[in-house]
């Protein structure tokens, strides 16, 4: 039973998602304003949150990383959740394929907005039990779970004929695409909670995660009500050669293009000469 079990749910999300954006990525907890819950029975307490490292640096040897989230929930909480979510919600164009005679081809296209680039949710208990206990409205308000993300997304069919199952197929397909490259994840029962309420979990950061700032949110739940909230953030930055090449490719593309051609041409010729010197033709 959820209400008798101690569990924790952690969420990483956009700033402004459940409170003001943080001025800097910090490893210390962020005080949130104290609220009275709808039932009046609980007061929402601050969960001091630590997010480490504050910056995930993408260098030449980067192959994805990990963000450790830890905090202190009220000891009597039933469950804890943490979420990481990107600050950006870049618009996307998605295609739906369909069979036309023998072949699979794009039959319609959609313009999708208001879906986070990254969304990972960790819990200390089964997510279905947590969602059942807090109810769909609270889940949607705090964007807990994929169904809540779907409440906020905006979709426009840009080509092809609409069909009844479009939204289901599109949403599930998008989640599957994001999951495959490690940007969307549900990590059930991934949070360890000690008897005193101290909790922690690690979020794997995929190498496909783009540069930017990410918000981390934590919720403590008791008897179907959110009794504690915490917020933190971290950043993903490109550094060194990776940063220089990215900047050159986007801001000095002419020079970058010439460098690319010259390096390639010179390498080809030099190797050809080396081989000739080694007894070739």
């Amino acid at each position: 039973m959820l209400k008798s079990a101690l569990s924790i749910l952690l969420l990483i999300s956009l700033p402004g998602f459940c409170g003001p954006a943080l001025a800097a990525s910090t490893s210390t907890g962020v005080p949130l304003s104290v609220e009275t819950s709808l039932s009046g029975q609980f007061v929402v307490v601050d969960i001091p949150l630590t997010v480490e490292p504050a910056s995930s640096d993408v260098s030449v040897w980067y192959k994805g990383g990990q963000e450790m989230v830890s905090g202190q929930a009220p000891p009597d909480a039933d469950a804890v959740m943490t979420i990481i979510r990107s600050m950006e919600t870049p618009p996307m164009t998605l295609a739906r394929k369909g069979r036309v005679v023998l072949f699979w081809m794009t039959v319609k296209k959609f313009h999708v907005e208001n879906m986070p680039g990254v969304y990972q949710l960790a819990t200390s208990a089964p997510l279905s039990a947590i969602l059942e206990s807090i109810g769909p409205e609270e889940a949607a308000r705090n964007q807990i779970g994929y169904a809540a993300l779907r409440e906020g997304w905006e979709v426009k069919l840009t080509s092809g004929a609409a069909s009844e199952d479009d939204m289901d197929v599109l949403f599930n397909g998008l989640v599957k695409l994001k999951d495959k490259i490690g940007l969307y994840r549900i990590l059930e029962n991934a949070i360890r909670v000690k008897p005193d309420g101290a909790f922690s979990n690690a979020f794997p950061i995929s190498d496909a995660t783009t540069v930017g700032k990410y918000t981390v949110l934590a919720y403590a739940i008791k008897d179907g009500t959110i009794i504690g909230k915490g917020q933190g953030e971290f950043a993903v930055n490109k550094i060194g050669l990776v940063n220089w090449l990215t900047a050159m490719a986007s801001h000095r593309s002419g020079i970058y293009g010439i460098i690319a051609v010259v390096i390639a041409f010179a390498t080809g010729i030099v190797v050809s000469i080396i081989f000739k010197g080694k007894g070739g033709h």
Binding site: W104, L177, A249, Y256
Partner: protein
């Protein structure tokens, strides 16, 4: 050992990429093709975004093709005059082709169109070349060694004699009209732009079967013009789409330049029909794979729509 590719935005195993580069470079040196028709799908298979795969592929082709072309040049396999005429045709065709691509994109379902064109062209070229080289191999097996050079069609060459702008191609030991190589280059340029590759796998059979060039001369001359066209495409991709991943290209050509050297040397040891039948088999394998992709039920019917790549 993994390395992060800044433009592809992905971490990748260095040895895997060097290996892929080596195999494609070998084929490039052996057959005189850029290898784009093989490399781009291979890169996409290991998770490189299609637009970045196509653009970085062009960059690595500059390296492998110049390595192989320089070797072929020393071996006397490059006819500069023929190469330049084809090149001018190819560049004009490419410019025209980009406009065709724009129109097709606006009409929608461009990806399907590209793949369908690929399947038809690869099927026709691969099939014809396979049958022809098989006949040549059988003939040489029964009648002993025969000339290992071009099977160039008499009908075509007779017809070219009637065209104006006749030129002497000394390295090739032939005299033909400049109009034809120019037009052939232009048609390949248009197709190459539509299909997003260099077009060597179309150009080499065209040089052999239609212009009537010896196989090894077609390989060397095509490599020469590929160096110039792929350098142009790399620059355009860097300027317009910012999709050239220099890090990816450098790792690829660490493998491909050596593969290309090996390929150019092996090509010298093989007879023309042996090279042609190998190329035909590879072209047919790629065709079957593409056809299978069009028919197979996809794992996920939803996909991100690619940023405009192609060239």
């Amino acid at each position: 050992m993994d390395i992060f590719l800044p433009i592809a935005g992905k971490s990748i195993n260095v040895f895997l990429v060097v290996g892929i580069g080596g195999i494609v470079g070998f084929l490039s040196g052996l057959f005189g093709v850029g290898g784009g028709f093989l490399l781009t799908p291979l890169l996409m298979m290991i998770g490189i975004p299609p637009a970045v795969a196509a653009a970085s592929d062009s960059n690595q082709i500059v390296a492998s093709a110049s390595s192989a072309a320089a070797t072929h040049y020393r071996m006397g396999h490059v006819d500069m005059k023929m190469g330049i005429i084809i090149l001018i045709g190819g560049l004009s065709g490419g410019t025209l082709g980009v406009q065709v691509v724009k129109i097709l994109r606006e009409m929608g379902n461009f990806d399907f169109f590209i793949k369908a064109v690929y399947v038809v062209i690869l099927g026709v070229i691969g099939g014809l070349m396979f049958m022809e080289s098989l006949r040549s191999l059988r003939r040489s097996a029964t009648a002993g060694p025969v000339e290992a050079q071009a099977p160039g069609s008499r009908r075509f060459s007779d017809w070219f004699q009637a065209l104006p702008l006749q030129m002497e191609f000394k390295n090739l030991g032939m005299r033909t009209s400049a109009i034809f190589p120019f037009v052939a280059g232009m048609i390949v340029g248009i197709l190459a732009a539509i299909m997003g590759v260099g077009g060597g796998f179309i150009m080499v059979p065209t040089m052999i079967y239609i212009i009537g060039m010896p196989t090894v001369m077609a390989v060397g001359t095509d490599l020469f013009q590929i160096v110039i066209t792929s350098a142009n495409v790399t620059f355009q991709q860097a300027m317009r789409n910012h999709t050239v991943d220099l890090m990816l290209a450098v790792i690829l050509f660490c493998g491909s330049v050596f593969g290309a050297q090996l390929g150019a040397r092996v090509s010298k040891k093989l007879r023309g029909e042996q090279i042609r039948i190998l190329l035909a088999v590879i072209v047919l394998i790629v065709m079957v794979k593409l056809l299978f992709d069009l028919i197979r039920t996809p794992e996920n019917v939803i996909d991100f729509v690619r940023a405009s790549g192609g060239h």
